[in-house]
């Protein structure tokens, strides 16, 4: 199993494509309707952030964590309680201060979770992080002094951020800025001693110990970093919906975030938003599109269709949508490289190793066709439940 977070250098069409995406992202408030902007795009941004924290841990640290939603929820719950709100403590301090304290609390909890989970690997790690998630869910459900009876509602938000209903553009830009900062921050971190050490631990913890590294401390701190990202998402979530309740951290949400990460691509940070956007769009539109097929399918059973689509994506491409794109691109490239003649092939890779690489890979040495995911997360997720996840989100406008 080899995970590589390195992508091939961008081609010209890809650079143009990215430029177009950046322009569309920046001009989104002008291009799209208010509903599309605030309900779908902005939701995709914070949902993508939660997935980003999961993808960061899995792609750089080899840790598939199911506790990210819990961290997200804790940040949200603390924000909601410290701000002025209905239900909960309604401490009513400045919303910014509330957010900062919330992030600190969430990161502290993430570090504690990390310290406990860092000693285990594989399925045990998965189960421990799931236990954290379930624990936090029950906390939300039972400690009504904090989580309210119908959640904490009408949470006060900072003036500049803007109410997403009346001022969707401001809220969108704030979310976009946070997301961009997290994305580029994590990419940068990946090249620093901290990030490279984490990747070494992902590939061979035993070797890392033999080289002088403290594997558990490092994993714990990585959990803290991912916790920061999840906490930012949690604050955005509360400001976005102005409410939070146990539904935000229930098991269905944990699965949703995992689905987002997997269909986007577990081994590329930007997969988080590819997955989130696909998820949000499907979640919103399959309701209308689901065809009537006897008792089996129908608009009220849109989750079945959703499940089938996710299943198809995961089966067709283990690297999710990003993986599918990358392998398609590589095939196209190999095709054109092949047509340009065999000359290139000869001069390709210097030492003809006994089990050497087959010639076709000549053009792009850094490429990984698609992340050989299966070994790590050979769990197949299917959204077969009839209930909608994240009820807060459902029934928009």
């Amino acid at each position: 199993m080899n995970i590589s977070v390195r992508s091939a250098p961008l081609t010209r069409p890809e650079k143009i494509g990215l430029g177009v995406i950046a322009v569309v992202a920046l001009l989104a408030p002008v291009i799209f309707s208010n509903f599309f902007l605030s309900a779908l795009l902005t939701q995709a941004i914070w949902l993508g952030l939660v997935a980003l924290s999961l993808i960061f841990l899995s792609s750089y640290g080899g840790m598939v964590s199911l506790a990210q939603v819990a961290i997200f929820g804790i940040a949200g719950l603390v924000t909601a309680n410290l701000s002025e709100a209905e239900g909960g403590l309604s401490v009513a301090i400045d919303p910014w201060l509330a957010a900062i304290i919330a992030i600190l609390v969430a990161v502290a909890v993430a570090l504690i979770f990390g310290a406990i989970a860092s000693r285990s690997e594989g399925i045990y790690f998965l189960m421990i992080t799931l236990a954290f998630g379930v624990m936090v869910y029950y906390f939300f459900g039972q400690v009504t002094s904090l989580a309210g009876h119908g959640g904490v509602n009408n949470v006060a938000i900072p003036g500049i951020v803007g109410d997403r209903v009346n001022d969707p553009a401001s809220f969108y830009y704030v979310s976009l800025a946070v997301a961009a900062a997290c994305y580029f921050g994590l990419r940068y971190l990946g090249r620093t001693p901290f990030g490279l050490t984490l990747q070494g631990i992902r590939d061979e913890p035993t070797r890392m110990r033999a080289l002088g590294y403290h594997v558990e401390v490092h994993r714990t701190l990585a959990f803290g970093v991912a916790g920061l990202v999840a906490a930012l998402a949690g604050v955005l979530f509360v400001w976005w919906g102005r409410r939070i309740g146990p539904g935000a951290v229930e098991l269905a949400t944990v699965i949703d975030v995992l689905v987002v990460a997997v269909i986007g691509g577990l081994y590329r940070l930007h997969g988080a938003w590819v997955g989130a956007l696909a998820f949000v769009l499907l979640d919103n539109y399959t309701r209308r599109w689901t065809p009537e097929i006897g008792d089996i399918l129908g608009p009220e059973r849109f989750n079945t269709l959703l499940g089938l689509i996710f299943l198809a994506i995961v089966l067709i491409s283990p690297g999710g949508l990003v993986g599918a794109y990358e392998s398609l691109r590589d095939r196209v490239r190999a095709y054109f490289a092949g047509r340009r003649g065999d000359v290139q092939e000869d001069a390709s890779l210097a030492p003809p190793a006994p089990d050497g690489a087959s010639g076709a890979a000549a053009g792009a040495p850094a490429d990984r066709p698609n992340g050989p995911v299966a070994a790590q997360a050979d769990v197949t997720f299917q959204r077969s439940k009839t209930q909608t996840a994240t009820p807060e989100i459902g029934g928009e406008e």
Partner: protein, 257 residues
């Protein structure tokens, strides 16, 4: 190392009555071993003799069930692997343990960084360029100059074995443990490796497990023979070559018990 490796120099590594049990199996039992600074020692023995387990006990992979390990004059029996590494102990693994998702340069860079401070530094600075410089230098010395930017998963088996040694070398160790570095190498690759090992600085003390006599006996000045968890013979390469028991063991005509 200014002082010469004389017979009365303090041992760099000393094992006293070291043993390790796995369930009902004594993988290593009551081994005493002393390695002097600058020594080149080979450890021979058939598969299952306990050689790798002995390395694991020295490097701190797991604790011994009996006996003590002294490294550079200190009792390290209770120290974890990472602390022993930072004292100047480096090792390679019988089956390569490399960072498959990283490039050759990154692999060696992590070896250079490991014994220094700043594992947690979340920003890049001038130290990184210096460590990368060092990593490229070592990798090139070890014959990997052409593949610095390749991902390890794409390397040939021979290159991976070279990288194993390069990573141990990159930590500037005082004591280096090599576990079958020539395993699976072709004839020419084995010769290259032997030259690389002979070219290591003299102040690096070397302990090498190796089945290939051409490699082991050329590199080593003293040989320890293990069988069923115990040391059964010691001597110069010539003495070992002439030893009948050694021949029997390697030809598979095993002595009963």
């Amino acid at each position: 190392m200014p002082e010469k490796a004389t017979a009365d120099a303090r041992p760099i590594l000393s094992l006293k009555g070291i043993g390790r049990r796995f369930g009902g199996l004594d993988a290593v039992r009551g081994v005493d071993l002393e390695i002097k600074p600058g020594e080149r020692r080979a450890i021979l023995g058939p598969n299952g003799a306990g050689k790798t387990t002995l390395f694991n006990l020295i490097s701190g992979e797991f604790p011994p069930t009996s006996g003590t390990v002294h490294l550079f004059g200190e009792d390290v029996s209770a120290l974890p692997a990472r602390k022993r590494a930072r004292m100047g102990l480096a090792r390679t693994f019988q089956t390569s343990r490399l960072f498959g998702g990283l490039t050759v340069e990154d692999n060696v860079y992590l070896a250079v960084l490991g014994v220094r401070d700043g594992h947690l530094r979340p920003v890049l600075n001038h130290e990184d360029s210096e460590m990368r410089e060092r990593a490229r230098e070592i990798a090139t010395q070890m014959g990997l100059g052409e593949v610095l930017d390749r991902e390890v998963a794409e390397l040939s088996h021979g290159e991976q074995r070279q990288l194993e040694v390069a990573m141990a070398r990159a930590t500037d160790p005082k004591l280096m443990l090599l576990d079958e570095p020539a395993a699976g190498l072709s004839r020419t690759e084995r010769q290259t490796l032997t030259e690389l090992l002979l070219g290591l600085p003299e102040d690096i003390t070397l302990v090498i497990i190796e089945h290939d006599m051409d490699v082991a006996l050329r590199v080593a000045t003293w040989v320890t023979m293990m069988y069923e968890g115990q040391v059964i013979a010691e001597g110069t390469p010539d003495e070992i070559r002439a030893n009948e028991m050694v021949h029997d063991l390697y030809l598979g005509r095993r002595h009963a018990a």
